[in-house]
């Protein structure tokens, strides 16, 4: 890790993560603050009239009568995913393949620092952003739960578990986006491959949830690992899953570093 490079990355690429962090803090705080009003309106009656598959797809089968269930349905099923997909894929792309494609990586490599140190710095920066956004989300909920509503309604343990598994799932997405970013010298190619794979994962997950018959599709998507409704139920073994996800992302990051160390850089 190179301190000077890390600080420069924060300065030049930190805006995206700052806005996303602040944005999700506000959204989260607003959802928690709004929950008591919504809970009083018997939303569950309305939901019961909807088809089962649809409810499952949007993690609504638990109903909206708990704050956790509400957040899972309203935030973690879509906004959260889109937000972090955009962050993970874009950042990985900006940190490596863009610099290689445009040639400015030359100035970094032409200093007495090994490629390994340069690439590790970039990896740490991408994870910093992911953790920063996740912490903003958690803080948004905690602050709102503690001060904006009368009685605290958040089931803390489960809520934190959702965020930890979510963060680790996206660490894997960051890692494979990084891998493609290291593999391809063409910025657009790297971006389109990691974006397409992630979107395919997302679609497989949604389709698999909507239809019982297509449930098997979910075995082929990374988002199978992140099932906020089930974590909320307590039916997910959080520890082994966390270890698995962390292991996968470490493996992919190490692989990217090896590729970057050995490749020819046309810069």
């Amino acid at each position: 890790m190179i301190g000077a490079l890390y600080r420069t990355m924060i300065k030049t690429n930190g805006k995206l993560m700052l806005y996303m962090g602040l944005g999700s803090f506000v959204i989260m705080a607003a959802y928690v603050a709004l929950f008591p009003t919504i809970a009083n309106q018997n939303m569950d009656q309305l939901l019961k009239s909807m088809p089962e598959g649809l409810l499952k797809a949007f993690n609504l089968s638990d109903g909206l009568n708990t704050l956790n269930g509400f957040l899972v349905a309203e935030f973690y099923s879509m906004i959260y995913l889109i937000l972090l997909i955009v962050y993970s894929v874009l950042t990985a792309n900006h940190l490596v393949s863009r610099l290689v494609d445009r040639g400015s990586m030359a100035y970094l490599i032409a200093t007495p620092n090994s490629r390994l140190r340069v690439i590790t710095t970039q990896m740490l920066f991408s994870l910093t952003g992911l953790v920063f956004i996740s912490v903003c989300i958690v803080l948004g909920a905690l602050v709102s739960d503690a001060w904006l509503i009368d009685t605290s309604m958040l089931e803390m343990d489960r809520f934190l578990q959702i965020n930890v598994i979510g963060c680790l799932t996206f660490a894997v997405i960051c890692a494979y986006s990084f891998l493609f970013s290291c593999l391809f010298n063409d910025e657009r190619r790297a971006l389109s491959i990691s974006a397409s794979i992630t979107i395919i994962f997302l679609i497989l997950d949604i389709v698999g949830k909507v239809s019982e018959d297509l449930d098997w599709l979910r075995n082929f998507t990374l988002f199978h690992a992140f099932d906020p409704a089930k974590i909320s139920d307590g039916t997910v073994k959080v520890l082994p899953l966390s270890i698995g996800l962390a292991g996968a992302s470490i493996f992919l990051f190490v692989l990217s570093a090896i590729i970057f160390k050995r490749k020819d850089l046309p810069i």
């Binding site: 032409a110 020819d264 850089l265």
Partner: protein, 294 residues
Amino acid sequence: MIQLEGLTKRFSNGKGIFDIQFEVQAGKVFGFLGPNGAGKTTTIRHLMGFFHPTKGTAKIDGMDCWQDAARIQEKVGYLPGEIALMENMNGLDLIRLICDMRRLKDRKRRDELIERFQFDPDVPIRKMSKGMKQKVGIILAFMHNPEILILDEPTSGLDPLMQKTFVELLEEEKIQGKTILMSSHMFQEIDRTCDQVGLIKEGRMITVNDVAEVRKQQQKVFVVTFGSVQEVEKLKTADLLVRHQEGSRVEVVIRDDYPLFLKTLASLDVQNLDLHTQSLEELFMHYYEQEGRS
């Protein structure tokens, strides 16, 4: 100081560089000359440790350019051929970043260079002109006072005045005993500063020679306009190579027969005399022809 031995890089399209061999001794200035696409940048990228050779080795100060890339950078200043500075920051931020990445404490040289090239470091990089970016590149390459300078087409993008400033800078570095390798596709650019010249074409070295030798071998084409066609006939009786004639306007190819050329012209009615700008191939026809025959 810089040694290339049988350096070969074959790209998947069959192009590349083949069996590049030369040595730049400490304190010498080496001009790496070749038309665009000849393999100059590819060779330089091996020296910088960006490319892994298919065969052969590139060494700087005894260290392998691929294995010891990071250590070599302590001694090397590099100016890339394409100026692609990081965006979203201003010039000074980038200079500071590279200073820090080099753990460079002494900022005197850096400020001196900024002053010398009259460069406003606070301008955001994306608003800079090509010439300004080139100045940032020069500062990044020279600010740590490196022993070895590797410069890929260093004067492209600079206006004539700045080119002059740059050549002066190079001459000072040379006096200080720096080892310099600079590439160019124009002989005039390296003629003044270099001790040695390496000619490359289509990925292969054509010759490595002292600049004085090469200068002797280069041919120049003068365009002479005479008062009448009869004058041309008189010129033709002299032992000079007339390449092309168009009425009273002729192109004369001169390599080292200047005295004869001047004497002949002095006795004729010359109305205009011009130097024809030539490509490298024309300039070093002699070498290229030799290469073709062998």
